[in-house]
Symmetry: C2
Subunit: 229 residues, 2 copies
């Protein structure tokens, strides 16, 4: 189901909102919509991107393969986020892979529309810049967390992050269900370690699980653990 960018509410959440009506019309005329099934890539590390992808539905993991064959998930992007901006801006091939965690619906916007607007509309550029400044700050936080916190602390933090950013379903489970392997790749640890810590948290009554679903039981204690108590 196609629609016009001018009317797309998703736009309210990202830098596209700083575009003028005319610019949006051009974008809308050149964009294409794409369905991506769970597990399929939107793009992969090293690809040269000819545009950016705006997430309409579903969640994507942005990850980077390390020399030892493990993926590190750097960011989870959902509705309203724009993927591939950095690559288009710096005109380099992308350093991250984007893989669907859910079934997804994304809009592809050719780089010409983006670059054109970047050069002509300072408000748009500034808006993109603000977003990127935010991402960079977050990246700094991730660096400090990974290097200074224990795996257990980072696991606790990851669960809280998932709750705060993706919410819970009707039964009190985290709305975004990740495989144990994905969780370990967010946290930056071995899958077995992640599983072990999940078992431990369950025993301690911090979380509860059902299949691969995880629910938070004692948020306060998880928070204390993140802080180091």
């Amino acid at each position: 189901m196609e629609s016009r960018c001018e009317n797309c509410i998703i736009r309210q959440f990202n830098s596209l909102r700083a575009m003028s009506k005319e610019e949006l019309k051009k974008v809308s005329d050149s964009k294409t919509t794409k369905m991506v099934k769970k597990g399929e890539p939107i793009f992969e590390e090293g690809d040269k991107l000819n545009g950016v992808y705006c997430v309409r539905n579903g969640v994507s993991k942005l990850s980077k393969l390390s020399a030892n064959g493990k993926d590190q998930i750097v960011k989870l992007a959902s509705k309203g986020e724009v993927l591939g901006q950095r690559s288009v801006i710096s005109q380099e091939s992308t350093n991250l892979s984007a893989i669907a965690v859910d079934d997804m619906e994304v809009c592809f916007i050719p780089k010409e529309s983006i670059n054109n607007t970047l050069q002509k509309n300072p408000n748009f550029t500034l808006e993109v810049l603000r977003h990127m400044a935010h991402d960079l700050k977050e990246a700094d936080d991730v660096i400090v967390n990974i290097s200074q916190k224990t795996v257990k602390q980072r696991m606790a933090e990851a669960f809280l992050y998932l709750k705060n950013n993706f919410g819970e379903d009707a039964d009190g489970f985290l709305a975004l269900t990740l495989s144990r392997e994905d969780i370990s790749n967010v946290v930056g640890t071995a899958t077995e370690s992640a599983i072990r810590i999940i078992s431990e948290f369950k025993k301690k009554g911090l979380i509860h699980t059902s299949g691969k679903k995880i629910g938070i039981k004692d948020e306060r204690k998880l928070l204390e653990m993140v802080e180091g108590f």
Copy 2:
């Protein structure tokens, strides 16, 4: 010794080069130059910055304090780099401290000049954006390195990084001399671990030392170690 921004060659290396003559003149009239002694802060985590700092001489470490009381060095900035951009752009207090590793000379540019140009000169904004895109890509690499490589690999990488970015002196030592503690804070490990690995590298003939100075002896083997052989 004061001088005019219009004539400053440092500018060639950073986003200020995208400013027009008039804009540069305004910047030059409002800027102040400051000497910062080794060990002194330019600004500290949580400060609200009223402008950015352009490094004319010396090296600064950008670090973030973690809950366990250790600093994590996120970036080493030298001649030509602009500090505090992110904070000024997002109008938040800064998330990093900037401390002089050397004696430094920096120019302070009030945020009004920057913000004004950001709103009026798309080329400048785009240039800043490109820089930030680059920083973000580097930050992703750091995340993957820290989470997927061993301390030994990261130490080897740090030495190569120091050689490539700051060069060597006449005697073949790394031009930028960091304390063992700073090295451990770049790598994200305990100071004792860093020292132990330095000893080990010395025994294996990968590096040589003289006091706190470190020189690279076998670059190839260090590289192999980084790659995981």
